[in-house]
Amino acid sequence: MKILVAVKRVIDYNVKIRVKADHSDVDLTNVKMAMNPFCEIAVEEAVRLKEKGVATEIVAVTVGPKAAQEQLRTALALGADRAIHIETDERVESLAVAKLLAKVVDEEQPGMVILGKQAIDTDNNQTGQMLAALTHLPQGTFASEVAVDGDKVNVTREIDGGLQTIALTLPAIVTTDLRLNEPRYAKLPDIMKAKKKPLDVKTPADFGVEVASKVSLLKVESPAERKGGVKVASVDELIDKLKNEAKVL
């Protein structure tokens, strides 16, 4: 089956962000960018399914600025066969991304779409679910295990109370959680070969999708700062302070 993997360019997970002085957004100037960690897990899962002989072709897709092609080349280096860049410099909300991906699903007819469960910038956790709705497909979110079984896929999900396993008819949408797999690193020869793999550039207009959203960002602020704390010298001092100073014991 063909697998479609959607990836997103976000800040590197180690970056300590700062809010712009005018509070219009987070300051991303000169900040290190990378593939969203959950998207890395999605690419890895698709590659493993190909190595198992379950997937025959992996198509990577992203919605974002020109620089996002870097993430598509990474996906190609890791094992994707071709890539689609839907280029836009606009801020694109999850619903618009899902609409664009739904058009790609229409064209490509994959057996499975794998996405990261959330992007670490917006922390929305919506795109996979919305894509499932728009394509009328079932969804297996927060997956820690994916097992294709004939015309079904068994997805084990990390839920608040523990683990839940559900069976979905294919085609299906899967979103990845942390423990689904440990992604590999791209090897230099593969990075070189990836430059020759096909990468198509499209725009939202090509798909007839309006990216404007009814949600507007009014302002961005830093959270209230915690007052600095103290180091205590002993367990006795800790318990004393918790009882008499903090009054939580």
């Binding site: 962000i17 894509l131 990390e158 396993t165 979905l168 009814k214 205590v232 002993s234």
Partner: protein
């Protein structure tokens, strides 16, 4: 405003998160109804009807809604959403699974994890692992919103809403429940506990988490964990506190053998008092801790336990 709250169920009972979502609904201000959907949920519906400020409880009790699958739940919500201006759920794994699907079916955006209500259409939510707070305004005719329950104090009992059966039964041929492995514990639920003690990679292995038991017993605490401890297989995933795990804001959070990565802080930095115990005096956790104790947790934990009442 007219608000429909999707109730959370926990082992078939009404989860305590629902009272926090009703509080968020009250902040939006309007008529508040609750939907309880599942199988064998009469008791949960009765508990929901007692929540303060609730007008009506709709009960959809049918096998197709058991296990909270997204496809039937979102289809049910689509049937019921007409006439409401807002649909709310907690940012539980159920809320996060179902509400975006509902939003897309209704061709509206979804707002995730709000922690404050500024008006009926303006909300605050955390972004970048809670290192920034965004104020967003929605012009959608239907606002579909998941609520960070630590941002709203639970409403109390004192209401007496009417309970109405919902006869809508949807088809579901696309997804089916296979099995589940749920944690069973007498301890308070992590999300709502007043005291939380968490172990990290420094605990060394799963057996050592028993060192937290005595302290948790004495403090009536829930036990949590960092991602590292879960990845290493020390403890199961439902104990993970962090950006993509549970968000907690207890009165007291004790971090044991946890370094304090950005992603862990995202899950606990709104705690009232933070204590950190770590043998590395430069661990980032000490930057957010109110009280830090540098030393060997294997000596410190039994010492704390013996000195607590």
């Amino acid at each position: 405003m007219s608000i429909l709250v999707l109730a959370d169920l926990h082992h078939g009972q009404l989860a305590s998160t629902t009272a926090h979502v009703v509080a968020a609904a009250q902040a939006i201000d309007g008529d508040i109804d609750i939907l309880v959907a599942g199988e064998g949920v009469q008791a949960a519906a009765e508990a929901a009807a007692k929540l303060d400020g609730v007008n009506k409880v709709h009960v959809a009790d049918n096998a197709v809604y058991a296990h909270q699958l997204a496809e039937p739940l979102s289809a049910l919500l689509v049937e019921l959403a007409d006439g409401y201006t807002h649909v709310l759920a907690s940012a539980s794994t159920t809320g996060k699974n179902v509400l975006p699907r509902l939003a897309a079916l209704k061709d509206v955006s979804q707002l995730s994890d709000i922690l404050a209500v500024d008006s009926a259409y303006t909300f605050k939510r955390p972004i970048y692992a809670g290192n920034a707070i965004a104020t967003v305004k929605s012009d959608d005719a239907l606002k579909v919103i998941t609520v960070r329950t630590t941002g709203f104090d639970a409403v109390s009992d004192g209401g007496s809403a009417s309970i109405e059966t919902v006869d809508v039964v949807v088809d579901n041929s696309q997804s089916s429940f296979v099995k589940e492995e749920l944690a069973q514990s007498d301890r308070p639920e992590l999300g709502g506990a007043k005291v939380v003690i968490s172990g990290g990679r420094g605990m060394g292995n799963g057996e050592n988490f028993k060192l937290l038991d005595g302290i948790a017993d004495k403090l009536g605490a829930a036990i949590g964990a960092s991602r590292a401890a879960v990845d290493a297989g020390f403890v199961p995933n439902d104990m993970q506190v962090g950006q993509t795990g549970k968000i907690v804001a207890p009165d007291l959070y004790i971090a044991v053998g946890i370094s304090g990565a950005i992603q862990h802080l995202a899950g606990m930095k709104d705690s009232k008092v933070i204590v950190a115990i770590n043998k590395d005096d430069e661990a980032p956790i000490f930057q957010v801790a109110d009280y830090g104790l540098v030393g060997d947790l294997f000596e410190i934990l039994p010492d704390i336990e013996s000195k607590l009442n």
